[in-house]
């Protein structure tokens, strides 16, 4: 254990002792450092973003007897959040609303409703927890701290001004004594940022802007003598991951602005559409990799940067893998950002190759144009915010991959502002794919049918892969082969990512289907 790690462990220990004295129901911060079993304490279950659970009570031999433990009717817009589960309580959200429900029975404990607010209500991913407190972002880009026991508000701070076009949907990430919160909004030309606040007070600890300041490294990737760099977008709207040993935070950033108008911002437009490694104590950039340099198709690189340690080309490595919205799968060494692999995970038509740094090279002819250009994937992406998963035993990375054919129009005549155009989908179909992280090859493919699936993926040590198709079916697949092991028509689409936990010796799997949470288990 290095010195930094010792200090952190000591801090965690002190915090834990401090908290245990005061509570029995709060989150022990040490659980954030372990694979999820009786607790699912953060958006992705743990810091790695693998969404792989070591639980194996439900397995490939007994999956046929999987049954409904309970269902919870939120009577709300679609649930896109992943619940947290801490000490037998599930916490989940839709825009402006948080529920605490009994993880054993599905009975409501409390329900919190924020005020009717401005800002985009497109969806909500969930809450973060630190000790006794929950952290909830709102459509008007505020961060609200709630008492986990009863949903009472402790404080409410503004992260960004909704009047300027910001909104918020994401589940913050807690690292040590930092609550790290991102923001959304690309209808107007505003700068993206990631902010860390004090969990007790909400006081800002640091703010990292996606665009560097003029003169800083990266600023040369924006036009000089222009306001482009200060209006360049790059929202931070998905929960990142964290490596406690390297003490690095990994975050994906969104598309540059104006969204479809490349000529307004010649250059790579760092650090938009990038995977960045930040110091969680200072918010300082350590390294960056850009999956979509100079993006003109809304291909946010916010998809979970998944962390695992494994051999690559015969050498043990600390890896980071992302299946990006632009249709390419990337593997990096997460200790230094070294590029290791780039491979398409679905057919695309927008590149003329891969450059020496492993970045796809955009074909200028496929930029949006007044007469419309056919591009796949469309702006909805070859994948999107639905969670990928990584099974460390099999060494396979799983992603819901979509064939989205779209036609991109550019609308601006003068200086482009905002989106400056749009694409219209022509046709979509979806698949689940297992990617060999060593080669980028697709090991198996499971067709999900027409339409865009936005169901996430969970894998477990029970040799199971949980997801949904785009026709209303919940699916359990064999992660080694993609073969269907179990299914049910749940009466709607899964627009969220599944999670699992074990309580009183019983394993539960929770899946959100539109406004309903279904909880599955083996018969009692």
């Amino acid at each position: 254990m290095n010195r930094k790690l010792c200090i952190r462990a000591a801090l965690c220990g002190a915090l834990a002792a401090n908290l245990t004295a005061a509570l029995a129901q709060g989150l022990d911060p040490a659980t954030l450092l372990k694979p999820p079993t009786d607790t699912w304490p953060t958006y992705n279950g743990d810091y790695t973003g693998r969404r792989y659970s070591p639980l194996k009570q439900i397995d490939s031999s007994n999956i046929k007897s999987l049954t409904l433990a309970w269902a919870f009717q939120a009577e709300s817009q679609a649930i896109k959040s992943t619940p947290l589960e801490v000490n037998g309580i599930l916490y989940f959200t839709v825009p402006e609303q948080v529920w605490a429900i009994d993880a054993r029975t599905g009975r409501q404990v409390w329900h919190y409703r924020y005020k009717k607010s401005d800002g985009d209500h497109i969806g909500h991913r969930g809450v973060a927890m630190w000790g006794n407190w929950l952290y909830f972002e709102t459509p008007d880009a505020h961060l609200v701290c709630l008492e986990a026991k009863d949903g009472h508000v402790r404080w409410n701070i503004e992260l960004a001004d909704v009047q300027l076009g910001y909104f918020a949907t994401m589940a913050p990430l807690v690292v040590g004594n930092h609550v790290i919160a991102g923001v959304s909004g690309d209808a107007t030309d505003i700068p993206g940022f990631l902010e860390s606040v004090d969990p007790e007070t909400g006081k800002q600890q640091w703010r990292w802007y996606t665009e560097p300041k003029a003169g800083e490294p990266g600023s040369e990737t924006w036009p000089a003598n222009s306001d482009a760099i200060t209006h360049g977008g790059g929202m931070t709207w998905m929960t990142g991951t964290y490596d406690p040993d390297l003490h690095l935070l990994y975050w994906g950033t969104g598309n540059p602005n104006p969204v479809l108008a490349g000529d307004a911002r010649p250059g790579d437009n760092l650090y938009t559409c990038s995977i960045v490694a930040l110091n969680p104590d200072t918010g300082k950039l350590v390294w960056a990799f850009q999956p979509s340099p100079h993006d003109t198709h809304d291909w946010d690189a916010v998809e979970t940067p998944v962390l695992f340690d494994a051999d690559f080309a015969g050498k043990p490595r600390k890896l980071l893998a992302q299946a990006s919205r632009n249709g390419f799968f990337f593997v990096l060494d997460r200790s230094n950002g070294e590029h290791l692999l780039t491979a398409p995970f679905i057919e695309t038509n927008w590149t003329s190759g891969i450059d020496s740094r492993g970045r796809p090279v955009a074909n200028k002819e496929k930029e949006p144009h007044a007469d419309g250009r056919i591009v796949y994937p469309g702006s909805d992406g070859a994948t999107n915010w639905m969670s990928p998963s990584f099974d460390p035993g099999l060494g396979l990375f799983y992603v819901v991959a979509r064939r989205v054919y779209s036609i991109f129009y550019y609308t601006a005549t003068g200086k482009p502002e905002g989106w400056a155009g749009r694409d219209h989908n022509i046709y979509e179909e979806s698949t689940v794919r297992a990617i060999d992280y060593r080669t980028g090859q697709v090991r198996w493919n499971h067709e999900l049918g027409p339409n865009e699936s936005v169901a996430g993926i969970l894998t477990t040590a029970g040799n199971l892969l949980f997801t949904g198709d785009s026709q209303g079916n919940l699916l359990v697949l064999d992660p080694a082969t993609g073969k269907t092991l179990w299914h049910v028509n749940a009466g709607g689409s899964m627009l969220s990512s599944p999670m699992t936990y074990e309580l009183d010796g019983r394993q539960y799997v929770v899946e959100g289907v539109q406004g309903v949470l279904y909880c599955w288990a083996l018969p009692e």
Partner: protein
């Protein structure tokens, strides 16, 4: 549909109401402000006002008005002693410009033909009769006669790529006993198939127990999606646009 028309009418009325002072405001803006801020307010020597936080936060001139009246001498902007109603018109114009930026993602039925018409109609005809194999199902004097008058230009371009699904997709299901039932497909997924038969009755089966043959008439269109060049699409559009 009705609801969206009503909403659209209200929105249009609000827009038109706003448009009269905004049009006056535009003239005044070009005259008094355009030299520094650009005639369309997107900036020149002075800053882009469409992106200005102050303009975006303004309500009815409460923030913009004082800046126009007092100027920003420290940043080189002179005070402009304009009458209140003129300032209100400029405010209306600036809000309209912000709205236009926010709506720059609108691509709809009013999309101008001239923007789409970059192809060559003769090349489009050749593709229609040749490589595209369109003529094997369609005819310019038959089903496509007058097609350019039927659809707004944008929708014509998109319908070439993805025609609306027809009322039904023909399907034939062969049951374990060998019986063949033909009808209209309702639903097909990995686990079940359902259809209406010729007499209008509904049937469904587990996929594992039957053989399903779908004759999707749109499959040829989908197969073309990975074959078209952008030029093919624009040429084909230019050709179909001649079928008034």
């Amino acid at each position: 549909m009705f609801r969206s028309i009503v909403i659209f009418s209200f929105a249009f009325a609000a827009f038109a109401q706003q448009h009269v002072p905004a049009a006056r405001g535009q003239k005044e803006f070009v005259q008094s402000c355009g030299f520094c801020h650009g005639d369309d307010a997107t900036g020149s020597r002075g800053p882009d006002l469409v992106r200005s936080p102050l303009v975006n936060r303004d309500v009815g001139g409460d923030l913009i008005g004082p800046v126009i009246r007092s100027g920003r001498p420290d940043q080189g902007m002179p005070a402009l002693p304009l009458p209140d109603n003129t300032i209100q018109d400029i405010v209306a114009f600036l809000h309209l410009r912000v709205l236009q930026a926010a709506k720059s993602s609108h691509v709809g039925g009013d999309y101008p033909l001239e923007r789409l018409l970059t192809g060559n109609a003769d090349a489009g005809r050749a593709y229609f009769n040749g490589a595209g194999k369109c003529a094997s199902c369609h005819s310019p004097t038959g089903d496509l006669a007058g097609v350019a008058s039927k659809y707004a230009p944008l929708y014509l371009e998109e319908r070439i790529l993805a025609p609306r699904p027809p009322g039904h997709v023909p399907v034939t299901v062969t049951t374990p006993s060998g019986e063949q039932i033909a009808g209209k497909l309702d639903h097909l997924d990995e686990f079940s198939v359902s259809m209406h038969d010729a007499s209008g009755w509904y049937h469904s089966w587990p996929r594992s127990q039957v053989k399903v043959t779908v004759q999707d008439p749109l499959q040829a269109h989908r197969d073309l999606l990975t074959k078209y060049t952008d030029a093919d699409i624009h040429n084909l559009f230019a050709y179909l646009e001649t079928l008034k």
